[in-house]
Amino acid sequence: MAKMKGAIVVDTERCKGCSLCTIACPFKLIRLSPTVNHKGYNFANQIDPELTCTGCTACAVVCPDGCITVYRTQMA
């Protein structure tokens, strides 16, 4: 099976910085930002320079606030 490549988009204004996605990601690709959003939360950010993300959706599944959209495609 071809290898999957994924990426996520976090709705940072909706994010409450609970960090559950950071724990759920098997590759620990998500971090909380040092800066806060308008509501004052340190929101989540994907840090994935090497495109390690497989689009496994774990982060999206655990996010209580539905902030994460996951995209996935077969590696070209």
Partner: protein, 254 residues
Amino acid sequence: MTREDIIKQENKVAGRPSLMNDMPMHYCPGCSHGVVHKIVAELIDEMNLQDKTIGICPVGCAVFAYRYLDIDWVEAAHGRAPACASALNRLWPEHLVFTYQGDGDLGCIGTAETIHALNRGENITIIFINNAIYGMTGGQMAPTTLMGQKTATCPYGREADLHGYPLHMTDIAATLEGTAYVSRQAVDTVAHIRAAKRAIRKAFENSLAKKGSNLVEIVATCSSGWKLTPAKANEWMAENMLPYYPLGDLKDKA
């Protein structure tokens, strides 16, 4: 391949369910309620039931569930959601009628309504969020609070003499003749979330198939009430709640 190549509409594989609207949820960071809302939204969508569902909100933190899922909702008085559901089940027999209730709502003030609706075999689903505390009112003792657990009304820890024992409503539900499916799940991990979704799906299917009453307990966290971070709350739950409230199906008539 770049991020931009991946982030395209046609590659979207997960996101906020379409039945869940934009309204930011009032829940505290990491609150289990949000995860369960998502599951329910996905299921109603997948099962194509938007115009055939009536949801019943509790009094508890989930009182505002009606703001987030685009279905019709009735906000019940504290503890009375199962009575509401009974009426709606009988008047709208082709509809999916479900309640969404906390431990205080379902297992304390609403004990009678819960037991009687279940024992009448109303074709409904009760989703029971057991976070072992009264979230909404600021962290008081719930019927499901563990022995020794500290809350605003048992600040030195729950003691049998003063506060009695935790109540196992789900176990009681499983003994009732009217229930078709009774299950205990959690939403702390991806695997648990997927299992919880399967359980709620079965409950919904049973309800529609008029097989009787269904109850799915979700062992949940309340980081605010427990005074822990969301991550620590998940850990505390796994360590303390799950041994006492073990996961799995308690009854499956089918």
